[in-house]
């Protein structure tokens, strides 16, 4: 899983350390929910391109 502290520190400008602590639980939960969905994608999975994909 992503090391969010390291990622936040590597940004230009970095996210101030006290603020990073507030982000960690949310980012970890979001990543835990997103990665399994992401693994269902196949090379044929095209990108949403706008109103034509709404239907």
């Amino acid at each position: 899983m992503t090391d969010w502290k390291k990622t936040a520190a590597a940004l230009d400008p970095p996210i101030p350390e006290p603020d990073v602590e507030k982000l960690l639980p949310v980012m970890e939960a979001l990543e835990n929910a997103f990665r399994p969905l992401q693994r269902t994608l196949t090379p044929e999975s095209d990108v949403w391109t706008g109103p034509e994909d709404v239907g």
């Binding site: 982000l23 980012m27 979001l30 992401q38 994608l41 949403w48 709404v54 239907g55």
Partner: protein, 449 residues
């Protein structure tokens, strides 16, 4: 008075637009200290505009049902020469040099702009507890939030200050305040109403729409916002006999306040009594849709406000946290979220061969208290923002039209919202269904304050 009542009264010469406008301005003066629904009030220009609209009517020029009707814009909508703050300290003195398309269209329809409504900072939140312009308060209980981000618009309409205000909806920002304030809010199909000149939040999920007291007014305002203001846009038919209404057997009723669940199920029974056919349906994975929606919005909102992050001290704590989260989203993850979105849009669209529309609760609970960050939903304690958006956020990912109408009240007197979903560009149909429910339940007659 509703838009249509005003329209009739104006044409019968029982009232003038100037009188309606003066009455609206008096209500703002009386109620705004309590509700904080307006950031800017336009007394002088509104009176001048109302007089001009009266003069047109007296010369036989009739722009349609919104001619001479007082309205407000969410303070995210560009108004030429009138400051447009986005609810932000950073933009507190920003004065656009042009109008948003929806402002142009409502102007062409003859509406009288009386003010700009308060909102969650940058429209990025659901409370409208704005750290720079003060918290908007819910007219049904001023200790509670009106919802957001279009909280000022919802509160102003609910309080009867005016019959219509504009809203924007990126993850529920029209429908949440509609639900919490007991008014009607329409999030149209993605791209149907122009976004030009409205401060963005999420490029691919922003929707513009009206907030009104009644569904019939909503139909009129929706057409006016889209640029067709003619008299024939009035919704006349509310016959729903034979329509197939989908009732989700999964997700939407799983974790709800009991009174919300009962009210929405009563609305379903009402629809059945009016001749609609209720069809049990299984909806695709809404949790997955919500996760995709959050990934997209985090990245897009940070893209929109990247420059503003240079002034961290001037951004409210909750919005700053979200903007920082957006900086952490990888480009490849954002693109994958858009790829998943396409799959989910196709999956969900299969439902439209089974049903014509879908009934769900709008929000899992009635309005929480100002400052509340956690709330009990059934047996579960949830984050207020995530709980409040979980029945709506995914709908912005799909881009389909969604209407929120009041369908009842809690024992404590707080409004409860029903969400009606339709296939892309099925606005007329969901408005027709909403009007039928509205007529049958008579919930709208109840007044806040």
């Amino acid at each position: 008075m509703t838009i249509l009542e005003m329209a009739d009264a104006l044409r019968a010469k029982k009232v003038s637009s100037l009188e309606l406008t003066n009455d609206t301005l008096a209500k703002i003066a009386r109620e705004n200290p309590r509700l904080n629904a307006f950031i800017t009030v336009l007394e002088e220009s509104a009176r001048a505009r109302a007089s001009a609209m009266d003069a047109e009517l007296s010369h036989g020029i009739d722009r349609g049902p919104m001619h001479g009707v007082p309205i407000a814009h969410k303070d995210l909508v560009y108004t030429k020469g009138v400051r447009t703050t986005g609810g932000s300290k950073i933009l507190k003195d920003f004065v656009p040099d042009h109008d948003a398309d929806i402002a142009i269209n409502l102007d062409r329809a003859g509406a009288v702009l009386v003010g700009k409504t308060n909102l969650h900072e940058f429209a990025y939140g659901i409370t409208s507890t704005n750290p720079h312009f003060g918290a908007v308060r819910n007219p049904w209980d001023t200790e509670r939030i009106p919802g957001g981000s279009s909280g000022g618009s919802g509160a102003a309409v609910a309080a009867g200050i005016l019959p219509m205000a504009t809203g924007t909806d990126t993850g529920g920002s029209i429908r949440i305040p509609a639900s919490f304030c007991g008014v009607t809010g329409l999030k149209p199909t993605f791209g149907l109403i122009s976004k030009r000149g409205v401060m963005p939040l999420g490029w691919t999920m922003d929707h513009m729409g009206p907030m009104t007291k009644t569904v019939r007014d909503c139909a009129v305002a929706f057409h006016a916002m889209g640029g067709s203001a003619a008299e024939n846009v009035r919704l006349k038919n509310s016959d729903i006999r034979g329509l197939r209404i989908g009732l989700p057997v999964n997700y939407y009723f799983d974790a709800l306040d009991l009174e919300v669940s009962e009210s929405v199920r009563t609305a379903v029974q009402t629809a059945a009594a009016l001749g609609a056919r209720i069809v049990d349906i299984k909806v695709p994975d809404i949790d997955a849709l919500n996760v995709v929606g959050r990934m997209l919005l985090l990245a897009e909102a940070t893209s929109v406000h990247h420059e503003h992050l240079k002034r961290r001290e001037d951004i409210g704590a909750d919005v700053l946290t979200l903007l920082d989260q957006g900086r952490l989203i990888r480009g490849s993850d954002y693109v994958d979220a858009q790829r998943l979105r396409r799959i989910y849009c196709r999956e969900f669209s299969k439902l439209w061969s089974e049903v014509d529309c879908i009934f769900t609760p709008a929000t899992p609970t009635p309005a929480p208290k100002i400052g509340q960050t956690k709330m009990q939903v059934g047996a579960i304690e949830e984050d207020v923002r995530l709980a409040t958006t979980r029945l709506m956020r995914g709908i912005n990912v799909l881009g389909i039209p969604a209407l929120s109408i009041p369908c009842g009240f809690t024992k404590a007197g707080l409004p409860i919202g029903l969400q009606i979903l339709g296939a892309p560009r099925a606005e007329e149909m969901i408005l027709r269904v909403g009007a039928a429910i509205e007529d049958a339940t008579a919930v709208v007659g109840r007044r806040a304050l």
